[in-house]
């Protein structure tokens, strides 16, 4: 298998990550930053293998369920992780759960880059103060929108390009030689089990212990009905009905009290 990535491929993926991490598409970047799915799709399109990319990304998504970044900082950057792990999975022919082993450390490093962005923006604040005092709207366009965007692109594009162009072929080659052995059985198990972390986190985030019963209900219903291969849209409708009934019942209770 050819373990290489072209300059153009590395550059496009790097620019995509810079677009997401600079938040230059407004609030539309929230989901792009928190969820690896769209980054996985872009990598798949660029590398010419959407199915493999989406399958690997679906596994990565599970460990990043429940990321909500209160106050703006997150312990990991799923988009950065995916941009490296999915090319490695494509180039090295890894199993999806094995791609997680690459994604996790990269995502942790990505969060430092993101915080460095806050640090650089702190200097621009002075400029914003100055333009605000002058009532200079053009200046504010520059200091609030244009300059932070340029700085984030300057930060993320080269970092991601170097990691992709020089890093991914090496990691892919290395992991491909290990694939199938004892170590990869271990990585496979860890990758499959870490999904529990994402789901436990989101149970905690949505909160309220008394609702945990709905998680258990769905879990066992789904386990029981597994042979029927019911799709998630159907389950979502059932879930919405359950939620509606719950609101109906509790609503009546408070009204009669």
């Amino acid at each position: 298998m050819e373990h290489s990535i072209t300059v153009a491929q590395a550059l496009i993926i790097a620019l995509w990550v810079a677009l997401v991490e600079s938040r230059a598409l407004g609030y539309a970047t929230l989901n792009l930053r928190f969820s690896p799915l769209m980054t996985g799709l872009v990598v798949g399109l660029v590398m010419g293998d959407v199915p493999t990319a989406m399958i690997a990304t679906a596994s990565i998504q599970l460990i990043y369920m429940g990321m909500i970044a209160p106050g703006g900082a997150m312990p990991s950057e799923p988009a950065v992780a995916t941009a490296i792990a999915v090319p490695v999975a494509i180039l090295g022919g890894l199993k999806p759960t094995e791609a997680i082993a690459v994604a996790v450390p990269v995502g942790l490093l990505g969060s430092y880059l993101y915080q460095f962005r806050f640090f650089l923006n702190t200097f621009i604040t002075r400029l914003t103060d100055k333009y605000a005092a002058q009532l200079n709207d053009k200046g504010l366009n520059f200091s609030i929108i244009i300059l932070p965007t340029i700085i984030s692109f300057a930060l993320f594009t080269p970092a991601m390009f170097i990691a992709l162009y020089y890093g991914t072929p090496v990691i892919a080659k290395f992991t491909a030689t290990l694939s199938g052995g004892r170590i990869f059985h271990i990585l496979d198990v860890i990758g499959g089990g870490l999904a529990a972390l994402g789901i436990a986190l989101i149970l905690q985030v949505i909160g309220k212990k008394k609702y945990l019963v709905f998680f258990l209900l769905a879990y066992f219903v789904s386990v029981m009905l597994q042979p029927l291969k019911i799709n998630t849209v159907t389950f979502a409708i059932v879930g919405a009905i359950v939620a509606y009934l719950y609101i109906l019942v509790t609503g009546e209770k408070t009204e009669t009290n």
Partner: protein, 292 residues
């Protein structure tokens, strides 16, 4: 009401009185806030500059004296951080209504009726509680309900698995974010009580939480993969540990794993990196010795 005011303020020239804030102004400011949102995020002021950038066109319509306008601009350079939709939308609307009240008061020469401090303390007072709700609902629940629906498509290799949750999330939050902006403008500060304590919004939040947890149960059952590979032979008969688990309760190991991590978060708080490392080590060791 406007007519009454006009008859009172005979000494104020027309050029000094604030222009009317229209639906179009609110829509424009909501878009500007939605767009700037996290771009200028810094350590010392967080996303104050985003609200400043969002509200400048409104401030220009309201304050016709240069010193008043400058004071308003500078007011919004101060520390501010909240969630974009529940916090950001609502507070943008509330701030607009307070700025309008202040501009009217100033134009009538009664500037102290609504002080600048009131505007800032309202922003700072509301940003935390509303952000808490917004993070839990938008980022934590709505987003993951959409992802839960689309994940099987992604797992099947389809691009729709990525496009569906992204586009739906953007569209839905944009629409109700603008609704919150209008609600904030219309109700002023009581909009926050409406959102935090209002009966209908409370019901919607509870319903979304139930649906969110339900969808996580569905996901956990098919995507958390923990199974035992241990088998042994006693006097010619082969025992497979996973078969024994399956005969007791199918799906036992994944559920134990999820609830174990949940229990850890309950006890120790949301220490994600520690949980990640701890779980990796436990799973890794169990896999290494051949139990998993």
């Amino acid at each position: 009401m406007d007519d009454k005011e006009n008859t009172v303020k005979t000494d104020v020239t027309l050029a000094d009185s604030p222009e009317k804030i229209t639906d179009k102004d609110l829509r424009k400011s909501w878009f500007r806030w939605w767009y700037a949102n996290e771009i200028p995020h810094s350590y010392d002021r967080m996303i104050a500059a985003s609200l400043l950038w969002a509200i400048t066109p409104i401030l220009r319509k309201l304050y016709k004296k240069k010193e008043d306008l400058k004071e308003a601009y500078m007011r919004h350079t101060q520390f501010y951080n909240t969630q974009a939709v529940w916090g950001g939308g609502t507070i943008l609307g509330i701030t607009t209504s307070l700025e309008e009240a202040r501009a009217k008061a100033l134009a009538e020469g009664k500037g102290e009726a609504v002080s600048g401090d009131v505007i800032n303390s309202t922003k700072v007072g509301l940003m935390g509680p509303l952000a808490g709700i917004g993070d839990a609902i938008d980022s934590g629940t709505v987003q993951y309900i959409l992802i839960a629906i689309a994940l099987p498509w992604a797992k099947g290799g389809s691009a729709l698995g990525a496009l569906f949750p992204w586009l739906m999330f953007v569209a839905v939050t944009y629409i109700y974010g603008f609704y919150f902006t209008k609600l904030g403008y219309k109700l002023g500060r009581s909009a926050a009580t409406e959102i935090i304590g209002g009966k209908n919004i409370r019901k919607i939040i509870d319903g979304l939480s139930v649906l969110g947890l339900f969808m996580m149960g569905i996901l956990a059952s098919s995507y958390v993969k923990v199974s035992s590979s241990l088998k042994w032979t006693i006097s010619g008969k082969e025992f497979v540990l996973q078969d024994i688990f399956n005969s007791i309760l199918p799906g036992l190991l994944p559920l134990v794993t999820v609830l174990g991590v949940y229990w850890y978060f309950n006890k120790k708080g949301l220490k994600i990196t520690q949980a990640l490392l701890g779980l990796s080590i436990i799973l890794g060791v169990l896999a290494g010795v051949g139990i998993l």
